[in-house]
């Protein structure tokens, strides 16, 4: 039975010069007891639709036409009355549990206030109801946790609190906007299980907004695919993921890294660069290409790093061991993957290798020289030149006040101050072309580029010093899947042609499987196991690895 009916919903953003249609004539129906997945890349309007249902759109956007019918009520009839459905008939969960709770009110205060807004209950009754809710969403010691502030909960627990807040007035429709994107896989699966369970028990209608096809495959009954504000395709999850009709859906599905096999390249269906000539990497002739000899380029021995809570007391009591006795080697020319959940110390290791952090103890050898013991700056510069890093967030890792050519020129002139201007410019153009950007990009500023293009600029900057080791710290986790596929393809090409050694850090197992030759699994600063990629995925040794693989959302699960 159709419970929610969205008819011809359009949302416009009135800008100074133009009107942007964030959603155009969207028609969606959701039944009770059903989870509808709403997928799309950033800017596709999927969150806009979610927010438009309860008319919670940021200025200057507004719902310009269409109706939303809940049961048999047209809740968009007048915009004033919609306020009383918020929280009451419709619950909303946001992406980031860190920011969606008020930091200076206790969890209990927030629950009681919400309950008393909608239900005529005394404070005592509201408290009892909240306690039951907290227990229902899986929070232990609900009585003591009731008086805690949000910052005293971990990420996953906080998202449970958020869910309990969304459900506290018995809504019949739940809109979950990327509810697990900010969480680790193990917690993600718990939260998704919780949502599935609640959907069944309470006979909820659920709209699950996400960009993660794996999550959709495992949770949603039906899927709606959106692109640039338009509903591209809607249907049963299995049908959409296995036999997509529309071109866009096909390309979206093919960009998702498969979890069950290794492919050589990502298929990019979208036209884009169809006139692409042979992949010419112009910087090749400048590159002093290393002949690969079978040796270890990086050796890491008993590496430790602790962050002391207190500056004054050296006591190890308060210190957190971010990296705990980690040793591994990376062969020249290989891709080594480091995987782990947040807090596992993977980024800390990366920062120690590029010498941004000093290890508490242990040694890092690069090309058989111990770089952790170099004291002289000039000596260290030789190694900095050979080790470059690509950061996770392409928005904050480029200086917004510098033109692209200045960004790329900086490392070049630092290591080679005598380079002539003409030579420098040519080199920059070659670098840009190698990462598939035009020469014109050189004179623009970073904000004129999209996330994927920015990450290309980051790669060009990293390549500028002709490094032998490229440390990639979650290089694609801020990007959409189709862009991710392009960037990963680019990295693979570059590695092949330039004989780069790559240390690839990610929490995303399918991506790591596609990118790496060998993988190390980290947990709480300790290395659980190192093994060849295919061995690791097919027959993992360590319990934790098995657990990670089991919990990883698999797009292929739809075939079973």
């Amino acid at each position: 039975m159709t419970f929610l009916k969205i008819n011809n919903l359009s949302v416009d953003y009135q800008m100074r010069k133009e009107t942007v249609n964030a959603a155009k004539n969207v028609n969606i129906e959701v039944n009770k007891g059903e989870i509808l997945g709403l997928v799309g890349e950033s800017g596709s309007g999927k969150s806009t639709v979610g927010n438009a249902i309860i008319n919670l759109i940021d200025e200057p956007g507004k719902v310009s036409s269409g109706s939303v019918i809940l049961g048999d009520l047209n809740i968009h009839e007048n915009s004033e009355s919609i306020v009383k459905y918020r929280g009451n008939k419709i619950g909303l969960i946001f992406q980031d549990p860190q920011t969606s709770l008020n930091p200076i009110l206790t969890v209990g205060e927030q629950l009681i206030e919400t309950i008393q807004t909608h239900l005529k209950l005394s404070k005592e009754e509201a408290k009892n109801k909240s306690l039951n809710l907290l227990k229902e969403v899986g929070i232990k010691d609900a009585e003591t946790r009731f008086d805690n502030y949000p910052h005293q909960f971990s990420g996953g627990m906080r998202q449970r609190v958020v869910i309990s807040l969304a459900l506290c007035c018995e809504p019949e429709l739940l809109i979950a906007d990327e509810p697990t994107t900010a969480l680790d896989v193990s917690i993600q699966s718990q939260i998704l299980e919780l949502i599935k369970k609640l959907t069944k028990e309470r006979n909820l209608a659920v709209i699950l907004i996400t960009h993660d096809m794996g999550v959709i495959a495992e949770t949603a009954d039906r899927v709606a695919v959106m692109k640039s504000g338009i509903l591209v395709e809607i249907g049963e999850t299995k049908k959409i993921l296995t036999k997509p009709q529309e071109n866009y859906t096909k390309s979206l599905v093919s960009s998702v890294p498969p979890t069950n096999k290794k492919i050589s390249r990502f298929v990019i269906v979208e036209k884009e660069n169809s006139d692409k000539k042979e992949n010419n990497i112009k910087i090749l002739n400048r590159w002093t290409k290393k002949v690969i000899i079978d040796q270890d380029l990086v050796k890491i021995k008993n590496l430790n790093k602790s962050f002391d809570d207190n500056f004054f007391t050296e006591s190890s009591k308060n210190s957190v061991m971010a990296v705990n006795d980690v040793s591994f080697d990376i062969k020249e020319g290989e891709s080594f993957g480091l995987v782990g959940e947040s807090g596992s110390g993977k980024s800390t290791i990366a920062k120690m290798i590029v010498n941004l952090f000093k290890p508490s103890s242990g040694n890092i050898f690069f090309d058989n020289v111990c770089i952790t013991e170099i004291k002289q700056r000039s000596e260290l510069m030789k190694f900095r030149k050979q080790i470059q890093m690509i950061f996770q967030d392409p928005y904050s890792s480029l200086n917004g006040r510098l033109k692209v050519k200045d960004i790329i020129a900086e490392p070049i002139t630092l290591h080679n101050p005598s380079i002539s201007n003409i030579d420098l410019n040519n080199y920059i153009y070659d670098l840009l072309e190698s990462v598939e950007l035009t020469q014109k990009s050189a004179d623009r500023y970073p904000h004129e580029f999209s996330g994927g293009q920015r990450q290309r600029i980051s790669i060009a900057r990293a390549l500028a010093t002709q490094p032998r080791l490229l440390v990639c710290d979650e290089p694609t986790s801020a990007l959409d899947v189709s862009i991710q596929a392009q960037i990963l393809n680019l990295l693979k090409d570059l590695q092949e042609q330039l004989n780069l050694t790559i240390l690839f850090i990610s929490h995303d197992l399918p991506v790591v499987r596609q990118m790496c030759d060998r993988i190390g699994v980290l947990k709480d600063g300790k290395l659980c196991e190192i093994s060849n990629t295919e061995d690791l995925f097919l027959k993992p040794d360590h319990e934790y690895t098995k657990e990670l693989l089991r919990l990883m959302p698999k797009i292929e699960s739809i075939y079973n």
Binding site: R86, I104, E113, L165
Partner: protein
């Protein structure tokens, strides 16, 4: 301390008794030792112990500063919240325009304008002094008489204007930022009433930085009061200080400066404690992220 007809011997003797002939480091360490006991010597001009003078003038300044701090905090917060919530609208624009004036006009100009308007033209408020004061033994207060209350209006408003405009702008910026945050959006999505969102959820968060700034500003108020007290001939410490500067009355000046430094430190200390009480994130560090 000496007149025209004082003989050279007497002058030399006085120098000796005041210790002005000793080497600098001896004089300085003597000053430190005495200051730590609360003794700042004798005013050259008034020939009375400085500590006595300060205590005598203290109530006037404290009353002035407390009243202006209250005016600045209360009106500043109210107007800041109003302009932060109603971003467009005549009243908001008006308040912001006037606040710009408050920031840019120096205190003495505002003070003189006020005197001209309310004391000279309208003749409803006194232009100088504290009015009649009641001596409670340890404290002289102007709050208990009509003339005393009337007298404090102009100086306190003058003194508070700068801080008020500062607080308006700060609260406004905080409110605007907080109303955009996810937790406000989530509160809206739960159907919490707009009033509760604005005045409970948003304002409480918005006041945290205001407390820091306001604390530091109370110190600044005392410092600024020098000018206001001079304009209104207010018999407080600031006025005493200006007179001391004119007569090179070093004991008074050093005592005043030490006192101001002490007040600054105390206020910052209190602010830190308040911060701890208000923001739960500071309160429980260490046992966070359990479960």
């Amino acid at each position: 301390m000496v007149g025209e007809e004082t003989s050279d011997e007497e002058r030399a003797e006085l120098r000796q008794t005041l210790g002005l002939m000793d080497p600098i480091h001896v004089q300085f360490s003597r000053f430190i030792v005495n200051a730590s006991k609360g003794e700042f010597g004798i005013s050259y001009q008034l020939r009375r112990p400085v500590s006595e003078l300060i205590v005598e003038r203290l109530p006037a300044t404290i009353e002035l500063v407390v009243i202006s701090a209250l005016i600045a905090l209360i009106t500043g917060t109210l107007l800041g919240v109003y302009t932060g919530i109603n971003r467009k609208g005549f009243l908001s624009d008006f308040v912001l325009a006037v606040s710009l004036l408050g920031v840019s006009l120096p205190t003495f100009v505002i003070g003189i304008l006020f005197i001209y308007l309310f004391a000279v033209i309208l003749g409803i408020l006194p232009s100088f002094g504290r009015g009649e004061v009641v001596d409670l033994g340890f404290w002289t207060t102007g709050f208990l008489t009509v003339s005393g209350l009337k007298a404090i209006i102009l100086p306190s408003v003058t003194l508070s204007l700068f801080q008020m405009t500062y607080i308006i702008r700060l609260v406004r910026a905080e409110m605007m930022e907080i109303l955009q945050t996810d937790y406000i959006k989530f509160a809206r999505a739960r159907g919490i009433s707009e009033n509760s969102i604005k005045y409970k959820h948003a304002l409480k968060n918005g006041l945290i930085p205001v407390i820091t700034i306001a604390g530091i500003n109370i110190g600044t108020l005392i410092a600024f009061s020098i000018i206001t007290e001079t304009v209104f001939q207010w018999p407080g410490m600031g006025f005493l200080f200006i007179q001391a500067v004119q007569f090179v009355d070093i004991p008074i000046m050093s005592a005043y400066l030490v006192f101001i430094a002490f007040v600054f430190v105390m206020i910052n200390f209190i602010v830190d404690i308040l911060y701890y009480l208000i923001d739960p994130r500071i309160r429980v560090k260490g046992d966070a992220a359990s479960g």
